[in-house]
Amino acid sequence: MEYLAYGAFFLTIAMTYALICLGLNVQWGQTGLFNVGVAAFVGAGAYTSGLFTTPAVVDRLGGFDLPIWVGWIAAALVGGVLSFLVGALTIRMRTDYLAITTFGIAITLQLAFQNLEGLTGGVFGMSFIPRAFGDLQGRSIAFNLSNFALAAAMVFAVYLLLQHLMRSPWGRLLRAVREDETAAQSMGKNPVSLRLQAFVLGGAIMGLAGAVQAHFIGFIAPGNYLPMMTFQVWAMLIVGGSGNNRGAILGAVLVWAIWALSGSIISEIFPADQQARAASLQIVVIGVMLCLILLWRPQGILPEARTSSRHLGKRPDKGPKP
């Protein structure tokens, strides 16, 4: 029975990652925007929702004790607004400026989570974030299963929304812009504004995902939103198959499983005092895996249907490159 509870717990976390992955897939898979600050957008959502929904506390602002769904909406909004600001600044420039800027915002927000004690609770973070189905907490199987159902439903809803959007004229335009900007431009479409829209949508989904995760775990701290998280989510999307929403979900479950499994193997093999050190091997493995996939199977396990993404460099080269 414990296994069932653990399984549900594991899958719920995987679902929250799947949600982040779906957001990233809008930005990268559909639009070709490289966001190196995923953790910032997830963290911003988590903290926003925490601020709105936790009970009143003395030593920090907020604690408005609002319902969870208000927190979710606020988190998505904040994720979207943050993406809009970053995107408006950099999307018209060369592609890697967005990467550098999002990397910067991740570091800066991480700093803000840590230092703005009056808002975020500082290094101790926020606790008593209301959990969905909180009254079931005593019965771990029921609690975990109902939370899993909720998270899975969220993933499914976002998945349906994205599938619908990607089949819409808007989605086709987005891919047109990704594949051939000049052609799209000549059709009278503004690629900058389209990309920005996609970036904001992706950021809002990440914000929402952050809130969902926070309300499941019930506690957040700056250490949850390290560059590590960004890296994990990227590995998930690339393994699963960028451009493919089902791939994004599959990748999230798979990489999270590899992560959890390798973590427990390490805790079995290594003595307690060496475990922190051994845990860094997990990251090495995921990093090497990411590079190998980019080298050998850039389309991931479930490749994008219809158009193969030109930006993955699959097609034979046009003339010798350096």
């Binding site: 097609r315 034979p316 080269d317 046009k318 003339g319 010798p320």
Partner: protein
Amino acid sequence: MSLLRLRDFSAGYETDLPIVKHVDMDISRGEAVCILGPNGAGKSTLIKAIAGQVRCLGGSVHLADDDITNAPSHALARRGLGFVPQTENIFTQMTIRENMQIAAELLPKARRADQMQRLFDMFPDLKARPNTLAGALSGGQRQMLAAARALLTVPEVLILDEPSAGLSPKLVGQVFETLRQIRAAGVTLVLVEQNVRAALDLTERAVVLVDGRLAHDGPTDVLRDGKLLGELFLGSRHAEVVA
């Protein structure tokens, strides 16, 4: 024996989509050849593939005895194949002299200064201001610098991609005058040119490509009245091409 030899040569940007198809061609030392054809016939692709800018998908190219199929462009330059691309053919953020110096690196040290002097003498416009940024030059002067750079290394064959494209009629005249000088110096020339009449006047042999295939190969004088060319280019494009 021919200097440049193409056998069953196919080339293009994508493996399954050759633009140039099964071309056989022999160019002898000292010859001047223009490559003609309607838009999209694959003229530029052909010479870019010879110059290592586009992948050869089948067949072979030889320069004298050496197989240069799919050789990297720097190796071709060192081997004596000079190529002048149609656009972006000079380093605009460097001075005229620096452009020449980069090319001169291919020569033995002892010959560099003399050879640069010789080329500067041939192009007085460039000689007048060697320290000007190449990006500040006019369109015609840019083509001159590009040609001067290519000639500096004394190539066995010089290949030019539409040297007069985008220039005013007066500058076109200048460019062809320069090409005539180069021709007179005995350099083997291969050029793609939209300006058919000027190209026919400059060269003695024309190769016509239609839809990536060799449609005609022979002396230029039979093409000069435009009738045969018109037939080759398929009627409607006749006027556009010969104008």
